[in-house]
């Protein structure tokens, strides 16, 4: 799988990778474009593009608001795909789609995979689609060579993790704690224990997200995970200081 290989290759050169996230259309595609450029220029290894959905149940207040504002400004899925196509063509790093299942479902799941493949998207993160519900999705992922990213949670048992790992490709997204995006995470003994279990369950690159917001946070993950995921932190940054603050922030994380 292309995504797995790309990440493994990059990981061979760095002690930790960085994945960043943005909500398409928030505050605007123009700002998104600038933010992506700054991220790529400052060494980000992989970017999640979130296609807004009106009911983002796994997201906390910041990303929730971003989803809803983007939609209320009239953003269409078609525009998201066009924008993603442009990013994938412009920048050399892997881009993933993060969204909720209804966006794929309503578009037509196969049509969506086909389109994503066409425009160079390498993986999907769909937080409300457990593998039990994803038979068609997983088959199509294989067919189109797009990585269906699996999610590990602190509540996942070893058995469950191994099961999930069996379905996954590209990377495994390890949710750092209970709750939704945007709140703080405590990197305590239980957290390290959790990561050890994650590590034991799969050979895929481990990305850790939810509450990673600073150099110190990223530091903690070194040696225990392969990639740190910065989500809410950059959205807050853009809201507060504009897109030009993103570059220096990213540069300072590692």
């Amino acid at each position: 799988m292309q995504l797995t290989e790309t990440l493994r290759a990059r990981r061979a050169e760095k002690d930790i990778l960085l994945m960043t996230h943005l909500v398409l259309g928030y505050p605007s595609l123009a700002v998104n474009r600038e933010v992506v450029r700054q991220m790529v220029d400052n060494g980000v290894d992989c970017i999640e593009l979130q296609i807004p959905f009106s009911e983002p149940v796994a997201d906390g207040p910041v990303i929730l608001k971003a989803n809803q504002e983007a939609i209320s400004h009239g953003l269409k899925v078609r525009e998201c795909l066009e924008f993603a196509a442009e990013m994938a063509a412009t920048h050399k790093i892997p881009f993933l789609f993060m969204t909720y299942y209804n966006i794929l479902f309503k578009y037509g799941v196969e049509k969506f995979f086909k389109k994503a493949k066409e425009i160079g998207i390498q993986g999907f993160i769909v937080p409300d689609l457990p593998p039990e519900e994803g038979e068609e999705y997983l088959n199509l992922a294989k067919k189109y060579g797009i990585a269906p990213v699996m999610i590990f949670a602190p509540t996942s048992t070893d058995m469950r993790m191994r099961e999930l790992a069996g379905y996954g490709e590209g990377l495994v997204y390890c949710v750092a704690r209970r709750g939704v995006t945007g709140a703080q995470t405590t990197f305590d003994a239980a957290f390290h224990d959790y990561l050890a279990h994650c590590r034991a369950a799969t050979n895929l690159p481990l990305a850790v997200g939810f509450g990673i917001a600073s150099k110190a946070d990223v530091e903690v993950l070194k040696g225990k995970a392969d990639m740190a995921v910065i989500g809410t932190a950059t959205i807050r940054l853009v809201e507060g200081k504009g897109p030009e603050a993103v570059g220096p922030f990213i540069a300072g994380l590692r």
Partner: protein, 410 residues
């Protein structure tokens, strides 16, 4: 083979991974309780001592005469403790929570009816309780908020999205994914991820079990038709289950026609051409959504019907032709409410009045030796602010103005 949690192509459990274990436990407990006959006995006993089950089946003599057709019977869920069928589901889930050893419950609420029921159950069982309620609904339904708070619950106004029921559901899920170890999410209707539809339908089946027995007793034969309003679908599923195997009994679900199907300001999923298959809030059903899959704003005079989705079980029964769907407009609802109050001295909830609308439209065309049952899911006096407003009652307005002035002076 049909997957567990699926009804035809509808249903499922589209849940974030973090809840996987929680759902495993919930499914296991639910299965154990279903297998354990004493659980259902305990449930029935609770509902007959804490609420007043069996709720009566009332013969509506005057309405029957008025329409000159079928004999009209009303199943009186309004007489439940807290005033609606919501109590059945909530008390049942309360017993489950006790078995799971959890100490906190959360719930979404639209009109506030399910919130009050959940807060009530939590008080009775000694659980901590948080209720999520759209900010707009908090404003509109202050009396229910007042009671929830008095019952010891924390009411959290939800300011995201359309600030109504669906957003409250999302917010409850957000709480749950953070607190699933201690907390059970008491879903208020036959929607959401499996096992909720199955579980809520099971608890609500008590309505239909009773109704079938009662109509045989009072009328000596099965009803020709059974009418129920459909928000999420729990009261409808509750009563329909008593008659699903009786193919000769026609089942009619009535959705919110709002300001009319043509205006798009409605909440008719199955009775309008406006909904399409989708996956949201953990399950697959017919949703009112746009071509991108974004959920629409819905409208109904009845907050409890004002929802984008509908039970996957009902969608399946609709698809199979077992349940017929119709929509009642706000205006039709107010007229049916008025008639029912004047003729029978019974005040249906605005939600329930939707079922009355269609029963009234059809009663006259049935013969006198046939019966129909209307499920009166709740009582209308909880809706005084909405009903008095909808009737545009001048004395009520003057009363509120006067009270407002008194409080302004404070």
């Amino acid at each position: 083979m049909i997957k567990p949690g699926y009804y035809g192509q509808w249903g499922g459990a589209f849940i974030p991974e973090i809840l996987y274990e929680t759902f495993r436990e919930l499914n296991a407990t639910f299965a154990r309780c279903q297998a354990d006959k004493t659980f259902w006995q305990e449930y029935v006993e609770l509902m007959s001592t804490y609420s007043c089950r069996p709720t009566p089946l009332t013969y509506a003599e005057n309405l029957s005469r008025h329409f000159g057709g079928a004999q009209i019977f009303i199943k009186r869920e309004d007489l439940n403790h807290t005033g609606a069928h919501k109590a059945n589901n909530v008390m049942g889930q309360g017993l489950l929570v006790k078995r799971m050893g959890k100490k906190r419950v959360i719930a979404e609420t639209g009109a506030g009816q399910h919130g009050v029921a959940t807060a009530t159950m939590a008080a009775k069982f000694g659980f901590a309780c948080t209720i999520y309620m759209g900010e707009e609904d908090v404003q509109r339904q202050r009396p229910n908020v007042f009671w929830m708070e008095k019952l010891g619950a924390t009411v959290v106004p939800v300011t995201s999205g359309s600030r109504t029921l669906k957003d409250a559901i999302n917010e409850a899920f957000r709480d749950w994914v953070a607190n699933m170890d201690t907390t059970h999410y008491v879903m208020g209707t036959v929607c959401g991820p499996h096992p909720f539809p199955a579980m809520v339908a099971w608890f609500q089946s008590i309505i239909g079990i009773e109704a079938r027995k009662q109509i045989m007793q009072h009328f000596g034969k099965l009803p020709a038709r059974v009418y129920a309003c459909v928000g999420g679908g729990s009261n409808a599923m509750g009563i329909f289950q008593g008659f699903l195997d009786d193919r000769e009994v026609e089942l009619i679900g009535v959705e919110a026609g709002g300001k009319g199907i043509a205006t798009k300001q409605h909440a008719a999923r199955l009775a309008s051409p406006d909904a399409s298959p989708g996956v949201a809030q953990g399950y697959k059903t017919m949703f009112l959504q746009d071509s991108d899959g974004q959920m629409c704003d819905t409208h109904s005079v009845a907050a409890g019907l004002d929802y984008i989705g509908v039970s996957p079980i009902l969608t399946d029964l609709w698809e199979k032709g077992r349940v017929r769907f119709a929509a009642a407009t706000d205006a039709e609802v107010m007229a049916a409410l008025d008639l029912t109050i004047k003729q029978e001295g019974i005040i249906p909830a605005l939600e329930s009045a939707h079922a009355f609308v269609h029963a009234f439209k059809e009663a006259g065309s049935l013969s006198k030796d046939e019966a129909i049952i209307i499920n009166q899911s709740g009582r209308g006096d909880k809706d005084i602010f909405t009903i008095a407003h909808a009737f545009d009652d001048p004395s009520w307005k003057a009363f509120i103005r006067e009270k407002g002035k008194q409080y302004a002076a404070d």
